[in-house]
């Protein structure tokens, strides 16, 4: 491109080839950090890398500018290999202000690269960030490769011709920074310019132009100024052939539900109430009126749950989505769906709790609530996607199970999956299997609670079917007839039937797959979103010769039918979870197996090294055991000490 060649005297050096790069963008939540990260990610994805992202933002929409509380960040891992996580510690930190530098510097790898906006390094901003002196001069940055660039001032000059005014011109500085980063990784700005145009060109051509100019300016600045001794290049990854797009967990879930509606041949009715980090599912589905999707916002979560049940009763796919506090409100109505045996899907995008907790952070602490958080013996099915793109498949699974087995199904995602992204091989609708309800509708011998002999599901009879008029409700049902019944033995039988119906789902879901040796010293068993960190840690330990395998549960109730047998094939089992040990509790109760925990409740996903360290220590313990040392007691408190990360 001509603008990057102006003024150059020496021939360009060839970029250094690297396998993977972990880069973290950080700045004020008003600095457009999430947009910057998303654009660079898209560029990396389209360039054929495998990617994985971790956005992290404050709960406040606009915390005071320049403060540590207002720092937002976005981490991207892009690679020429198959990767499963956004990476542990960044190789490069892009900090738009001192507060961002202060917050994130400790995570940077030793000797890593720091790029800062020197225009934001002023005495006032040090004060806001709560630092005493300029970190560029007081030794804080010793040992790092530091590039301090006049980002704001050059941006202002670059976009001046557009005439946006001071404030809006300054807002383009994130694009300048992005231009610098593009240069650093041997990329032109074409894809990002296209994305900018797609977003703004029609509605706001001036903003589009200014953003493009700032981006190009950053690229040329880096090129001309030779700010870094050299640039880097990451090759394309070897992904299986196919058409790909980058997708977040919430988008994938929304698309999965649309696909489910098509596969089931039933209308999707989605009722929800806004709550972070689940709202994006509402936003995505609300746009799709032309698909006949009936998505809407209710007065509260109770109403949303009620509407989903009403829709399921009417024969539609009834769906609701929420996060922890909202799930509490839905509990009573979920019990009604258990009693009336109606197929509804409840999405819980878990966040840090209890109460309002950490609204924008991730956690897996609602597993037991999903299992048991209702009055009475009230079993439901639970699925948990293991990666952003897996949200698509599990959304379809949730409705397949709900409609085939006539029960509420929980879809336990979390903030990490919801906002994180990865490449997704786009399926064609023909690849996806159609599904439907079981149960017979014979008007002569009709009974609303007659059961399918295989699944124990009751028939999905809906209003409008002549001759099948009947009443259902939350009072205990008589086995078969469904009439109100208070008989003691009948109640017990119904409790057992409802439980058995959920257990039988195990015959209808895939067996658990083990990655690594089929038997050995250690199995690392995770569930849901911890897949990436566990898988990467086990890959690394295995390559170091350890006898370790991993498996990830995507079906939590019922468990895959081979789980018990797999547990028995390993000397030790480790369960890493972002909670205080909820799956571990279930496994110990169910299999009487002394599984160990690695538990983290910091609102942050696992880093690979955290899991790897635990694996090493457990295998080390085993060695000591062989040599006659003391074995780990396996007690809860013992686990905590071993597993807690401070």
């Amino acid at each position: 491109m001509s603008h990057s060649e102006a003024g150059r005297e020496e021939p360009p050096e060839s970029p250094e080839l690297v396998e993977s790069v972990i880069i973290r963008f950080a700045g004020d939540s008003g600095d457009g950090i999430q947009t910057t990260g998303a654009l660079f990610t898209q560029d990396a994805a389209v360039s054929g890398h495998d990617i994985s992202t971790l956005p992290d933002f404050p709960a406040e929409i606009r915390a005071p500018a320049g403060t540590v509380a207002g720092v937002s960040s976005f981490q991207l891992n892009f690679s020429s290999r198959d990767i499963h996580t956004p990476g542990d510690r960044p190789d490069v930190l892009v900090a738009m202000n001192p507060a961002a530098l202060k917050t994130h510097l400790a995570d940077l790898i030793p000797g890593g690269m720091v790029i800062v906006n020197e225009d934001s390094f002023t005495p006032q901003s040090f004060k806001k960030a709560g630092i005493k002196s300029d970190p560029r001069e007081d030794g804080t940055l010793d040992g790092y490769a530091v590039h301090s660039l006049p980002v704001t001032s050059v941006t202002m000059r670059a976009v001046e011709p557009v005439g946006l005014g001071k404030k809006n011109s300054e807002r383009c500085k994130n694009m300048f920074m992005l231009g610098v980063v593009c240069w650093l990784y041997d990329r032109n700005t074409d894809v990002i310019e296209r994305l900018i145009d797609a977003k703004f060109a029609a509605s706001d051509p001036k903003t589009a132009q200014a953003n493009r100019l700032a981006l190009q300016a950053g690229h040329s600045y880096a090129d001309t100024a030779r700010l870094v001794p050299h640039r880097y290049h990451v090759d394309q990854a070897q992904l299986p052939p196919g058409k790909y797009r980058r997708i977040t967990g919430n988008s994938a879930a929304a698309l999965g539900f649309v696909a489910a509606s098509k596969l089931a041949g039933r209308t999707l009715v989605f009722a929800s109430y806004p709550i972070t980090p689940a709202s994006d599912i509402l936003h995505e589905l609300a746009r799709l009126r032309n698909f006949g999707i009936k998505a809407g916002q209710c007065e509260d979560e109770i109403a949303a749950m009620g509407a989903a049940i009403g829709a399921a009763y009417a024969g539609a796919l009834g769906l609701t989505a929420t996060s922890g506090p909202g799930l509490c409100l839905k509990s009573e109505a979920i019990g009604l769906a258990v009693m009336t045996e109606l197929p509804v899907v409840i999405v819980n995008v878990q966040r840090g709790g209890p109460s309002t907790g950490l609204p924008t952070k991730t956690e897996q602490a609602d597993l037991l609530q999903a299992m048991f958080g209702r009055n009475g013996e009230s079993p439901v099915a639970i699925v948990a996607p293991q990666s952003p793109s897996d949200c698509f498949d599990m959304a379809i699974e949730a409705f397949r199970i709900a409609t085939r087995h006539m029960c509420p199904v929980f879809f336990l995602s979390d903030g990490y999956l919801a906002n994180g992204s990865e490449p997704w091989r786009v399926p064609s609708p023909e690849e996806l299997p159609a599904f439907g309800a079981t149960g017979s509708l014979d008007a002569d011998n009709f009974q609303p609670y007659a059961r399918d002999p295989d699944t124990l599901a009751r028939p999905w009879v809906t209003p409008g079917m002549p001759g099948l008029e009947h009443r259902i409700g939350g009072l205990e049902k008589q086995d078969g007839s469904g009439e109100v019944c208070y008989e003691p033995e009948n109640h017990e039988r119904m409790v057992q039937l409802r439980a058995k119906k959920i257990e039988r789902i195990a015959d209808d879901i895939p067996l658990l797959e083990v990655f690594g040796p089929e038997q050995g010293e250690l199995l690392v068993l995770g569930w849901g979103s911890t897949y990436g960190a566990i898988r990467t840690a086990v890959e690394r330990s295995k390559s170091g010769g350890a006898s370790v395998a991993c498996a990830q549960l995507r079906y939590l109730n019922p468990f895959p039918s081979n789980l018990g047998e797999i547990l028995d094939r390993f000397d030790q089992v480790l369960v890493p979870e972002l909670n205080a040990g909820q799956l571990r509790l279930l496994l110990r109760a169910r299999f009487l197996k002394d599984v160990q925990g690695l538990n983290k409740v910091q609102g942050q996903p696992f880093r690979t090294w955290e899991v790897q360290e635990k694996i090493d220590s457990m295998l080390g313990l085993n060695l000591r055991k062989l040599h006659g040392g003391t074995a780990d007691s396996g007690s809860l408190s013992g686990d905590k000490q071993q597993g807690a990360i401070s």
């Binding site: 790909y244 109770i302 009403g310 829709a311 009763y313 009417a314 024969g315 409008g464 259902i472 409700g473």
Partner: protein
């Protein structure tokens, strides 16, 4: 549609095989009987086959109602019936949905859903059985219990103001609002028929006697010897008359143009100034005053207070779907999955 509906139902077609379990003498029996009696007519006039009728209730004595109707029925959870009705109507707009609720179910625990159901104007008929008490839980005060009322949970007397259901419905912009009585079988049937014909939320308060926990709650307005003076039966485009032989009328109070407050006059003096009821009146202040009229200052308004046409929520959903399809074409799943920047790996 001019053709008569081919199906001819009788009252028995709406009786389920369940044994009715209200206390002997409960006002709910009469309401059930009138609903079952008027249903054949409703089905014929609204061209609705029985299988398209759904009764959805919350929890309470009143909410047992669906079990006794041989239609589709859903006895849900306390206060949430309007939420279920919303989902049902959005999924299947062709269903005729009746919500059965009580003064506790609809105005206390489910108050929020009631307001929002009404505000959305979903096409459901909401029958609120108001016995001014919690029947099923054996006699605690309810949001409609009068100040000073002593109940098990208010041994020193109720100290909160009661809710006027019609006022609440009006404030929520209900498109159909009516009040009737368990014991007035003819009026009850007439109001139910009107509600059935209304497209949109039809809110009907039914004054209902709980002879066990709040017996005679409405005697001071409906007893034979006082009812003429204390009940005002509203009729569209007719002067608002009451009293024996229509001896009293409602007239505007204060200045000639001030219709915000109504007053009572003997018909002889006030006839020419008698207010005429307009179900579609846009005089909100006056309608609000009318809705909230209560004994002893005023007669209690009965019948249809308000009936206006307005698009229903589910119609608007369907309309948006049609419009979106015209503008964007029908949804294409493959195109949706492919949306955004894609790339191909060979």
């Amino acid at each position: 549609m001019s053709d008569t509906f081919p199906l001819k139902y009788t009252r028995d077609d709406f009786r389920s095989d369940q044994v009715v379990r209200w206390c002997p003498g409960c006002g709910d029996y009469s309401i059930l009987a009138q609903v079952q009696r008027v249903m054949p007519r409703i089905c014929a006039e609204t061209q609705t086959p029985r299988e398209n009728i759904v009764f959805i209730s919350g929890i309470g004595c009143s909410s047992r109602f669906p079990y006794y109707m041989d239609t589709y029925g859903f006895h849900s959870i306390h206060g949430r019936a309007p939420a279920l009705a919303l989902g049902l109507k959005i999924a299947r707009p062709e269903m005729q949905v009746w919500v059965i609720t009580g003064d506790g179910d609809g105005l206390s625990i489910g108050g929020n859903h009631l307001i929002h159901a009404i505000r959305r104007n979903i096409d459901v008929k909401i029958l609120l059985f108001n016995n001014r008490i919690y029947g099923l839980t054996k006699g605690q005060y309810s949001p409609t219990s009068e100040i000073g009322k002593k109940t098990k949970s208010s041994p020193y007397g109720v100290i909160a103001q009661p809710v006027n259901a019609l006022g609440l419905a009006l404030a929520s912009r209900a498109t159909f609002i009516a009040r009737t009585l368990d014991t007035d079988s003819k009026h009850l049937q007439e109001v139910l028929l009107r509600a059935a014909h209304h497209r949109g939320t039809a809110f009907v308060e039914i004054l209902q006697n709980c002879n066990i926990f709040n017996d005679g709650a409405f005697d001071d307005i409906k007893a034979r010897d006082v009812r003429d003076d204390r009940l005002l039966f509203l009729e569209h485009e007719k002067p608002m008359r009451f009293g024996a032989g229509g001896s009293k009328v409602l007239i505007p109070s204060g200045a000639a143009h001030d219709t915000h407050f109504a007053a009572v006059a003997e018909a002889g003096h006030g006839m020419d100034r008698a207010l005429v009821h307009d179900e579609a009146s846009e005089n909100e202040g006056f309608m609000y005053a009318l809705a909230n009229m209560d004994y002893p200052e005023f007669p209690v308004p009965m019948g249809v207070l308000r009936a206006v046409e307005q698009a229903t929520y589910e119609d608007l959903v369907e309309h948006q779907i049609e419009e979106a399809r015209e503008r964007q074409g029908p949804g294409d799943l493959q195109a949706l999955l492919d949306a955004g920047e894609c790339w191909t790996v060979e």
